[in-house]
Amino acid sequence: MSALRFGYVAAPLLGALWMVTLAVTVAVAMSFATGEAFRPAMLWSLVWGAIGGAAFLAIRPRRAASALVAVAVVVFIAAGVGPVVVGPDVPALSRGICGLILGIGFAASTFRIMEDLSPGALTRHEFEGAVIRFLTGFGYIFFTAIVLIPFYVMVMTSLKNQSELVMNPLDFSIDLSKGWDLFRSYEELFRDFNFGTYMVNSALISVLTVIITLLFAVPGAYAVARLRFRGRAAFSRSILLIYMVPMIVLALPIYIAFSMTGLRNTFFGIVLIYPVTTIPVALYMLQGYFRGLPSEVEEAGLMDGLTRLAVIWKITLPLSLPALASVSLYVFMIAWNEFLLAFMLLDDPSKFTLTRGIASLNSSEIPRQHLMAGSVVATVPIMVIFLGLERFMTKGLTAGSVKG
């Protein structure tokens, strides 16, 4: 390790690794955006990255080094010996854009990474600071890429048609001249496959689930959090245990019972089951929050002559609105995304939820842009709700279990 702690070793090394990261990123991004042939050249990336890293140490002022490196990358890519190799039939424009992005991106970010590196021996702080900055940059790119790519593929596939997809699976460029025709698979989904109904069903079932869950969980959570009774500790533990019973184990007897009582294929049956799967987790989250509320306020209410139930209604609930919001959001998400029970218990297309509807699209006769369009339809509402209320969501999820 200590051999690395010299500016003239660390800078080229980090530069080379960073160039490889960026070259792969730019090549993948350009391929996905244009469908043309971009390929990272590993060896050239290492070489140019090392030279670029060294240049930041050698050349003063650093801004000059930065500009020089940026120009060099553009020129080398145009010449075909750069960190990214471009196919022969790629238009000059894409080639230029690729060079510019990589050049400016590398120059600007390496400028930051190498901030306090100097050619000679480095202190631990300087060296580790540079490594951490490199890792941070790598982490942002890595996580953003792995999260975005599947969703990007999902959305873009839904806007294309089967033959285009088979011809060049990398070509996600969108032909804007088609206008509204781009959304044809969505139109067909709602017209021919009843996705409007599925969406209404899903929304209805999810909202009902949230309401029923709260009706059960709020009093239960209050009792566990505030009231003293024998078996309280055992109870609050067993709540979590219930949540650990796998759904498939329960789904089997439920399927049998529902088949024999005729509850299969009914909304009633689904609304009966969904809340029970969410009550334990809602109860656990809420009781964590209730415990954090000052009990003095409630005691004051009791002294002033309110009954316990009135205290819950008039004092505890208004105080815990944020927690209620996050629990509702979480329960809504579980119900909206639920797949297994809907898949096993619903056979009648007029009663499908969205997830069950998508599962029914998974056949070789239905083109896959419909499958992806269905996935987008199911994903977008929950994403919109989630992004709007993200603050509640993150707080709520961690509220019950994390203590500061």
Binding site: A27, S31, A37, F38, P40, R124, H125, I132, T136, Y140, V147, I149, P150, F151, V153, M154, T157, V166, P169, F172, F216, P219, G220, R228, R232, F235, S236, R237, L241, I242, M244, V245, V249, L250, L252, I254, I256, A257, S259, M260, I273, V276, I279, N337, F339, L340, T355, N362, L371, M372, S375, T379, F386, E390, M393, T394, L397, S401, V402, G404
Partner: protein
């Protein structure tokens, strides 16, 4: 003078409080025991029963009745016919019979031996029936004018059919064949091995990636909120949507990932990520990590943000380098949440069904215990064997849970 002693036992106030608590908990307890405890007991029952999917529709007597001979005016002769059949080719039905209120205006001729009429109600008894048995009853009748006036045919008032079929779910036939079957052969061990691989690596992977992502976002900068929201996407999106997106992305014939790999020269021919033996298991494990790193990331980040900053400042003054600060200050603080998360995620990954079911359907060496429940119960339509696998899962889970409870009560002070 009486001595004053502290009250013994529970006073009336405490009792009232406990009563209220149980009252508030009662709805939850009822619902949960109906939908969780009862099915769990049912699983044990079913696992020792030779029950298949077909047994869900118990054998019954099917019956058709009609009036033959097309009577048109009063005085015509006709035949009242009942055709009965045992719907099952495998099981007998005991005590078969039916009663039917006859329509008005039919003069009944000769009755078969098995039937009697009392006050316009026809009752027939056939005794016990073999599998697939049939019976036809024909009764000659003379139609009167009032029959036409009423305008009611024999079908307007359907007959009530009786018959006791033994239901395999409730009778006293037991078998251990289900367990013998699932423990039989190498298949069980391969399923167990796949489950363990998936669970262990899925859990550890999700934790490591979650920790890395949390470290990235544990500082405030512009756009931190957006990135945090973005990194939660895999967890928030419906599993079916992202699973199909992955299947498309990694499709061997027209998937973008393969096209990309070929173009970059990593591989010469398309890789079948979800169809080849060791690779499919690795891919589904990677999917599991991808989908659940956000959850661990969220919990770890919340814990990180609650660590006091002074400590790091003090360490900085003492000359601790960033890596030393992470290893000697952050890690010990995070160890608690990491181990809780490990146990939780371990159990949840062990329980996971949807992901593998959607990605590979349990083929290509990715069949875990939970997928095996579905496979046995629905693909092979042997509900008993499926329940037996579920019992095995439950036993594993119970072991984990005991361990978990011991641990979490220490960790959380519950």
């Amino acid at each position: 003078m009486t001595e004053i002693t502290p009250p013994k036992g529970t006073g009336p106030l405490a009792r009232r409080e406990a009563r209220l608590a149980w009252g508030l908990l009662l709805p939850t307890i009822t619902a949960v025991s109906l939908v969780v405890i009862l099915p769990l007991l049912a699983i044990f029952w079913i696992s020792v029963k030779p029950v298949t999917l077909a047994d869900l529709r118990p054998p019954e007597v099917t019956m058709r009745e009609d009036l033959r001979g097309n009577p048109e005016v009063a005085g015509d002769e006709a035949t009242l016919r009942y055709r009965l059949r045992n719907s099952s080719q495998a099981q007998p039905i005991l005590g078969v019979g039916f009663t039917d209120t006859l329509p008005e205006g039919l003069v009944i001729g000769e009755l078969p031996e098995t039937c009697v009429i009392e006050a316009g109600v026809l009752t027939c008894e056939f005794g016990d029936w073999d599998p697939g048995a049939r019976e036809t009853i024909e009764i000659p009748v003379i139609v009167e004018q009032s029959y036409f006036d009423a305008g009611l045919g024999p079908r307007d008032d359907p007959a009530v059919v009786r018959g006791d079929a033994s239901n395999v779910l409730t009778n006293a036939t037991f078998t251990f064949e289900n367990f013998a079957r699932i423990f039989d052969g190498r298949e069980f061990w391969s399923v167990l091995w796949v489950t363990l691989f998936y669970t262990v690596f899925g859990t550890i992977g999700a934790l490591v990636f979650g920790l890395f992502a949390a470290l990235l976002l544990n500082k405030s900068f512009r756009g931190q909120g957006i990135l945090r929201g973005l990194y939660l996407f895999p967890y928030v999106a419906p599993v079916i949507a992202v699973a199909f997106a992955w299947i498309l992305l990694f499709d061997p014939f027209s998937g973008s990932a393969n096209a990309l790999l070929i173009q970059m020269g990593v591989t010469d021919e398309a890789i079948n990520f979800f169809g080849e033996r060791p690779l499919a298991l690795i891919t589904v494990t990677v999917f599991e990590i991808w989908r659940y790193f956000p959850l661990s990331f969220l919990f770890i980040l919340a814990r990180m943000q609650s660590i006091d900053n002074d400590m790091y400042e003090a360490a900085d003054m003492d000359g601790a380098s960033p890596f030393q600060q992470f290893w000697y200050l952050s890690m010990p603080q995070l160890l608690g949440i990491l181990s809780v998360l490990f146990l939780l995620r371990f159990i949840w990954t062990f329980n996971k069904f949807d992901d593998i079911f959607l990605l590979t359907g349990g083929n290509a060496g990715t069949r875990t215990l939970t997928v095996n429940v579905y496979e046995q119960a629905f693909a092979l339509s042997n509900l008993g064997a499926g329940a037996a696998v579920a019992v095995v899962i439950f036993a594993c889970l119970l072991t984990f849970s005991i361990f978990f409870l011991k641990f979490i009560s220490r960790e959380e002070g519950l």
